[in-house]
């Protein structure tokens, strides 16, 4: 699943560009969870090089094109509205990343999310965020884990506040 998350993120960015994704490192150096985010670089030969920005764990992924995690073919050109950014906590973003039912624009907003020291930064057009609220709300309706419901509701609150809904 970790490799799929890396592919999902890397394939949402241009080849030849490097970025710190919102994918969390899964290593446990010294038996403690690593606090880092995975950086990715899409090479022109089709490989995805990745490494953790804290512990330095790294690798190269090949043969990912056409896999279910490959989002490079998605088109969000139909989305309208101004560009905006939203900062979420890591925990809230993890809840959003678990939402399986997303349209292309929302899928790309989630896949392009970037890890920062302050949390996870989402960027996209207003229309995509409007749709994302609906998808997160739909997930919340059918989720039985109360903690995750809280996180999803929190995500909706932040997104709505950014869009000026409430």
């Amino acid at each position: 699943m970790q490799l799929a998350a890396i592919v999902r993120s890397a394939s949402a960015h241009r080849v030849g560009s490097g970025v710190t994704t919102a994918v969390r490192c899964t290593k446990r150096p010294g038996r403690r969870p690593c606090d880092g985010f995975v950086m990715v670089f899409g090479r022109t030969n089709g490989e995805i090089a990745w490494s953790c920005d804290v512990c330095g764990d790294e690798g190269v992924i090949t043969g990912w094109r056409g896999s279910w995690a490959d989002v490079s073919g998605l088109d969000d050109g139909y989305v309208v509205g101004d560009e905006l950014t939203v900062m979420l906590s890591r925990e809230v973003f993890d809840a959003i990343r678990g939402v399986l039912l997303l349209d292309a624009a929302c899928e790309l907003v989630v896949a392009r999310a970037q890890g920062t020291s302050a949390g996870v930064l989402l960027a996209g057009r207003v229309g995509a965020f409007e749709e994302l609220i609906g998808y997160v709300a739909a997930e919340s309706n059918v989720e039985s884990d109360r903690r995750r419901v809280r996180r999803l509701d929190e995500a909706c609150t932040v997104l709505e506040a950014t869009l000026g809904h409430r």
């Binding site: 139909y78 039912l101 997160v136 709300a137 997930e139 309706n141 809904h165």
Partner: protein
């Protein structure tokens, strides 16, 4: 005799500006409806009821008259579902004018998104015809929706039937069929 339609931004952009608070309360038994736009060809308006989660799909164009056309579309869906005509007549007569407002319930918003996903899947799987919006509404009304209780059979249709029965039982003034 008003009812409130709470629209998504996409819906309000096409249909009109939302009214400022305080909003008049809906004079219908079913209460508020939520509205959204589907960018199908031709474009479709989807409405979901707050009380029963009943879905109604109808052509959006011309968008300026979609609220005026909505009660008739709702009545057609209800009639196809076999809902008591006395209830349908009472609801439509209480829907003489509509007030637009912003969305307020994430639960309804979520259900509306689920309906859109299911409708698109049903069309892709050739289970429903995209041109038959009444048929699509009727099909969606009998699908399982997360927030609806077991007592209502988990479906909007079950919730509507129970509400209609309770309304007709409670009001002695209804003319008997």
């Amino acid at each position: 005799m008003v009812f409130t339609v709470r629209g998504t931004k996409k819906f309000l952009d096409r249909v009109g500006r939302p009214a400022a608070d305080p909003l008049p309360s809906s004079s219908t038994v079913l209460g508020d409806w939520y509205g959204n736009v589907l960018f199908w060809r031709p474009q479709v308006a989807v409405f979901v009821n707050v009380t029963t989660f009943m879905p109604v799909l109808m052509p959006l164009a011309p968008s300026t008259s979609v609220l005026a056309r909505f009660p008739a579309a709702m009545a057609e869906v209800f009639a196809t579902l076999g809902i008591d005509p006395r209830f349908v007549a009472s609801e439509t007569s209480a829907m003489q004018s509509a007030v637009l407002a912003k969305t307020a319930s994430r639960q309804v918003l979520g259900v509306m998104n689920e309906f859109v996903f299911m409708a698109e899947h049903a069309i892709d799987a050739r289970r429903c015809d995209a041109d038959d919006l009444i048929g699509l509404s009727v099909w969606l009304a009998d699908t399982i929706v997360g927030p609806i209780s077991k007592d209502d059979g988990y479906t909007p249709l079950g919730a509507l039937q129970r509400l209609v029965a309770a309304t007709l039982d409670a009001d002695d003034g209804w003319p008997r069929e």
